[in-house]
Symmetry: C2
Subunit: 345 residues, 2 copies
């Protein structure tokens, strides 16, 4: 049995939803993560400063030991004043979804140029811009690639704006982010480090691997793994853990999203071990993201344990009504239940 202690990690991209789903799923993020950047595409979405303390309180009720890092969703009605108020209410990032690209994004941004005053305000005030970097139209495998020129245009217009290109899935995106200055970074999910399109539609159809952006080719997977494990501080963990009830995935018109929160760290340990980079796991999960956002590093540690194949942990088939990533699979790595926890302040 092998163990690995790492600083308590942050998830810089998670969907906790609201209402019953929040109650069901927040605890899985709380179990392993100290902080989580919580996406604002709830129903209704978080689009004003006034909503932020209420949503924050709802999260804290469901997961008292999790420190939620709050965000606001950009819409065509967002103004610089919205941003300033949201920051005053504790938001550290604003999320831009091009219109229609993912769950609850119907009211999202249809004209990026019209948000330039908002970006200027964010640049001035040091608020981070998180982008779902896909064009809403075009061939599904090309949508991220096609967005990269927009990313570069925003960066050139607002050179000091901190930008996170969320859940990158292509070699092209990795290379673009690498080429741009340090204030443009990217998050990488757990599942995009493990699956390609073949794992969605290459055998039987796998709705629990279906997500946006859709996983791509082997060469993209290789580029993502290299980016995550190479110690480049521009790339850090944002799981995009996105719960949908089983019946909303296994149906005639399935929702996009992979629920990785329960297994994220266990899976990452395997990915990093396979690359002989376990010594870099902590940077990816617990250092680079906090540094990019200008947050203090977490105190305390979690302990990852590697079992023999035969007595590894079998992932539950259902967690909070949601089929988690790797459901029913035996994982060698797991997070110790005896992990050192930082007490709630």
């Amino acid at each position: 049995m092998k163990t690995l202690a790492i600083r308590r990690p942050d998830d810089f991209h998670v969907h906790l939803r609201n209402g019953d789903m929040l109650e069901n799923v927040a605890k899985f993020t709380e179990r392993h993560f100290a902080r989580a950047l919580v996406m604002p595409n709830t129903m209704p979405p978080i689009v004003t400063a006034e909503q932020i303390p209420f949503y924050r309180r709802e999260i804290k009720q469901a997961a008292p030991n999790l420190e939620p890092l709050m965000t606001i969703k950009l819409t065509m009605r967002t103004t610089p004043e919205t941003i300033e108020k949201a920051m005053a209410a504790g938001a550290i990032a604003a999320k831009m979804y091009p219109e229609g690209v993912t769950t609850n994004s119907n009211d999202a941004v249809s004209s990026i140029e019209s948000l330039y005053p908002v970006f200027g305000c964010m640049e001035y005030n040091g608020m981070v811009l998180c982008i779902h970097g896909e064009l809403p139209e075009g061939f599904v495998l090309d949508r991220e690639w096609a967005f990269l020129e927009t990313l570069e245009a925003i960066h050139q217009r607002f050179p000091a704006l901190r930008i996170v290109l969320e859940h990158v899935t292509t070699d092209d995106a990795v290379q673009t982010v690498k080429r741009l200055p340090p204030n443009v970074a990217a998050t990488i999910t757990v599942h995009h480090l493990m699956i390609t399109l073949d794992d969605v539609v290459g055998g039987f159809l796998q709705p629990h691997h279906f997500c946006k952006p859709i996983p791509k080719r082997d060469k993209d997977l290789v580029a993502l793994v290299e980016a995550a494990t190479s110690g480049n501080p521009k790339f850090f963990l944002g799981t995009d853990s996105a719960p949908h009830l089983k019946e909303n995935k296994e149906c005639g018109s399935g929702c996009a999203g992979v629920f990785t929160a329960p297994v994220a760290l266990a899976c990452l340990a395997k990915v990093f071990e396979d690359e002989e980079s376990l010594d870099r796991l902590e940077d990816f999960t617990s250092t680079f993201g906090a540094n990019f956002y200008g947050l203090p590093l977490n105190e305390g540690q979690i302990v990852l344990v590697k079992h023999d194949n035969d007595d590894g942990y079998v992932v539950d088939h259902l967690a909070g009504g949601v089929v988690p990533f790797m459901a029913g699979k035996r994982l060698q790595w797991w997070v110790s239940q005896n992990a050192i926890r930082k007490e709630q302040p």
Copy 2:
């Protein structure tokens, strides 16, 4: 209201299954098609001559007005003698599935060269070779393209063998078939003339659009439509209508196949009309395939009727326990229920 009478069509690739499913679905093919080349990947598969009359009888019981064109499945145990006996029992084609590529293909062909004596026998006796033209491994969008060199190798080794590359989905496959002599042809499905990968994973996940080979890009769709509507006798209809119970599509590990039998001709009329090629529909559905197989043309006609948008036919949500292609959608074209039918002999 517009009408179009065409010679009763043939479906040169259909899955009728056996048992209860056969009972449920054969009638949909019988309703519009005079003859159908029935795939042998039943459970158990049709691999010996002895099974053919039994399966033929089962089909005739379920669909007395349908003339089944029988096939045999090639496995690593198929011999030239198997082929000769199968032909004597009425089979007109042998189907090759590379191992593991689709429904019930686990016992399929893992070494194509070892079937060369079988291909030689088929070439000598004039039996058609139908191929599911995908490599079993490699990136899902590349598997058909990667198979094309195998197709060419088989053709070069057996230049007089009649080969049908089934359900082509790529511009590359269309161009390869065009380039080869007239004894190498291709079938095209209805759904591959209408959907791309975007209609599977580009929005919500659409399990009822999930099939093998997976639909590809726009440029491939354009090439397929051009091939089908251009009057090239190398391309003819094989729907690959492949029923799976709703619960085996809308689940955690979904089966591949689109059930187009109930709507195939209605959809084709729209595709051909959009290309201003309605005058070529009959060739695609009722002439080119029969000519390739050396079968007499069917007698009798069916009548396609075009309704105004508002009083078009709405496709059932369920047909024989299966969700059909275009379920719940309103179709402008439909096959008249007063169609002229050839009486059963």
